[in-house]
């Protein structure tokens, strides 16, 4: 409230559905009504959500592939540089560059960077951590991580929020409401 008019709250229409199947159907219908920023909120992943939301191919596999290859190249280059190029040490007359003996660490760093990129990739793509989200304003939204199935639509500023609410009510939600971001 301190800096008055510059704050424009983000507005959402949030609808709760009785079952996962009803949610999938409702989400598909909302999308066909022309709503753009649709999302679903469920306690566990539901088969068919990607299709209902119209999502494209997941990005994680490519990110992991790049991470893993980086790890492999980095590991091999590191060992080659350190043991064969920069400071070769003759230990029991082993060759300074020994591809076979480089396998274990190359493998380990492939897994390390591949796995780390899967983890970080998920959260970066999701924009998390984001402890506050306007949807958390709705008391019933607590159930989204327990046993509730929700569909949310972000209504851009200047667009008709009541129309979106009516749409949400018409696609089979048991309860629909408008949620507004609060100023902090």
């Amino acid at each position: 409230m301190s800096h008055g008019s510059s704050f424009v709250p983000r507005r959402f229409v949030l609808g709760q559905f009785a079952t996962a199947e009803a949610l999938l159907e409702g989400t598909t219908k909302m999308r066909s009504k022309g709503h753009k920023k649709i999302d679903t909120h469920t306690p566990y992943p539901i088969h068919g959500l990607e299709k209902a939301l119209g999502l494209g191919r997941p990005k994680i596999p490519l990110i992991v592939l790049i991470g893993a290859l980086t790890g492999a190249v980095l590991a091999y280059a590191m060992m080659y540089y350190m043991n064969a190029y920069d400071w070769p040490i003759n230990v029991a007359n082993r060759p300074p560059h020994s591809p076979i003996l480089n396998i274990p660490i190359t493998f380990e760093l492939t897994v390390l960077l591949g796995g780390t990129s899967a983890f970080l990739g998920t959260f970066v793509l999701a924009g998390l951590p984001e402890p506050y989200h306007p949807l958390f304003e709705a008391e019933s939204f607590r159930r989204a991580s327990i046993d509730g199935f929700f569909c949310s639509v972000e209504v851009p500023a200047g667009q008709d929020v009541d129309g979106a609410l009516a749409d949400m009510q018409s696609v089979g939600s048991t309860e629909a409401q408008i949620v507004e971001e609060s100023e902090r």
Binding site: P43, P61, M82, W87, I89, G114, T116, Y132, L135, S145
Partner: protein, 478 residues
């Protein structure tokens, strides 16, 4: 109680040939949420407090043991020449092995779509983390001066201009174990995030909501997030699977690449991995049997889960036994007198023979009781067997390391090894540290992956529905 009630409510009695249930009772997402988190919202029970006190005392012993080790050097231990490796490496290998069950359950069983893994994966993964922490302590302190160890092991540019020697399995070990710890932690946490969000949302107090909310990172079950999350989880499982096999393989290379009789064996990598899974499952069973009782998890960790774990112990126990047979066979077949001597004289009839025979009893004889369904479904038998297996696996590492070292090629070099009280304090201390961390985990973090259980319930319900529908429609589509 709930199981009995629901079976009474069911109109038709269950077919005894039907597979046992993975989730007992009539459950919904909400009842699962309540029952799985119930223990977290309650004040700790007296039993928990007493156990925690004992565990913390054990942890204190570790602090004392390590302090003495660092102050006096590793001369405080019983290690000598020729037994340069003893309790330090025995415990390291033992703990790392225990960790392996967690990754096996969470990753390999996920890839094989074994639905029963869902109830025990979180529990076993946590065990992995804590076991690997205990394991990591040993290579660190066995250098005597860990603050120097960093530049022998870590590839960072120092003024000395010396790099690690990447042809040494000991350096592979550093990479393998640290990768293993990191990936296990990330995998565990990734699986935990949706559960932390459920905890945040079902919390009653502001503090709990804030703390769990912070760790949940603002997870809101978004469909867009789940789409990527599922892939990340699957790929992490895919990466962890070869990783877990590589870790104990590399640990076994520490021994196998040497020329010492008893160590210089090509069967070591698979036999170490089998032994690791064997001991890991035993540790899961040791903890799970009391924990499911106290935490009220009997409806999701059913007898079916315990029975399956017994079967895994039986299978891996047989692999370990096969490893023993092959070791002895090759020692005889090679015609190498040193090999023959170590396997047929030193180990079987030498001064440490009782430990060898204890190992044979615990690892070769004990798992055979799991051929019988009566033993696989009897909690008492299972629990005692699981403890015996852990003892046996510790003895195996003792036999491999100490008996091989104490009598090698030259009889004039032979020397006995006796652990000092500091050795025992550090070993018991890691058990204390493990128990402390594990008890904290059981109290504050959901011991069962609630999100995955709900998903499983949804799937099972869906399957049952499809099945019923299919039967009614008499071969209708879908």
């Amino acid at each position: 109680m709930s199981g009995a009630k629901s079976s009474a409510a069911m109109p038709v009695s269950r077919d005894p040939l039907e597979p046992a249930l993975m989730i007992e009772g009539q459950q919904t997402d909400a009842t699962l949420n309540d029952s799985l988190f119930d223990y977290i919202w309650k004040l700790p029970s007296d039993g928990w407090k007493k156990l925690f006190g004992v565990a913390l005392a054990g942890f204190g012993l570790l602090v004392i043991g390590i302090t003495i080790t660092l102050a006096k050097g590793i001369g405080a231990w019983g290690n000598n020449i020729p037994v340069g490796w003893a309790f330090d490496i025995i415990n390291f290998v033992w703990w790392i092995g225990i960790g392996h069950a967690g990754t096996l359950i969470s990753a390999i069983l996920l890839l094989f779509q074994q639905k029963w893994r869902t109830s025990i994966n979180r529990f076993a993964e946590a065990m992995t983390l804590f076991a690997v922490m205990c394991a990591l302590l040993f290579p660190l302190i066995h250098t005597g001066r860990p603050w120097f160890a960093a530049y022998w092991l870590m590839p960072y540019p120092s003024v000395q201009g010396i790099w690690p020697q990447f042809k040494s399995p000991l350096v592979w070990d550093v990479f393998a174990v640290s990768t293993y710890f990191t990936i296990s932690l990330l995998f565990w946490f990734l699986g935990l995030v949706p559960d932390l969000a459920s905890l945040r949302d079902s919390s009653k107090s502001r503090t709990a909501r804030f703390v769990y909310g912070m760790f949940a990172l603002g997870w809101r079950g978004s469909g867009r997030h789940w789409a990527e999350y599922k892939w990340a989880y699957l790929l992490l499982a895919g990466l962890s699977t070869p990783l877990v096999l590589s870790v104990h393989t590399i640990v076994s290379f520490d021994f196998a690449v040497s020329v010492l009789p008893g160590w210089h064996t090509t069967i070591f990598p698979p036999y170490f991995v089998a032994g690791a899974v064997f001991s890991g499952f035993a540790m899961v069973v040791t903890w799970m049997i009391p924990a499911r009782e106290v935490l009220g998890l009997k409806h999701v960790v059913t007898l079916k889960h315990l029975e399956n774990m017994c079967k895994v112990m039986l299978a891996t126990g047989m692999m370990v036994s096969y490893g023993y047979i092959m070791e002895h066979f090759i020692a005889w077949y090679s015609g190498n007198e040193y090999e023959f001597s170590i396997f047929f004289r030193t180990r079987q009839r030498g001064p440490y023979a009782p430990i060898y025979w204890l190992m044979i009893f615990c690892n070769v004889v004990t798992p055979n009781i799991f051929w019988f369904k009566k033993a696989r479904t009897n909690l008492g038998v299972m629990w005692i067997a699981s403890i015996l297996i852990n003892v046996g696996m510790w003895c195996e590492r003792f036999v491999i390391i100490v008996t091989s070292l104490h009598r090698d090629f030259l009889p004039s070099k032979w020397e006995m090894y006796y652990p000092t009280w500091v050795d025992w304090a550090v070993f018991a201390g890691t058990v204390g540290m493990f128990s402390t961390l594990f008890l904290l985990f059981l109290k504050f973090v959901p011991a069962v992956a609630a999100t995955e259980i709900k998903e499983l319930r949804h799937e099972l319900e869906h399957d049952a529905h499809e099945h019923a529908h299919g039967v009614a429609a008499a071969g209708g589509a879908h």
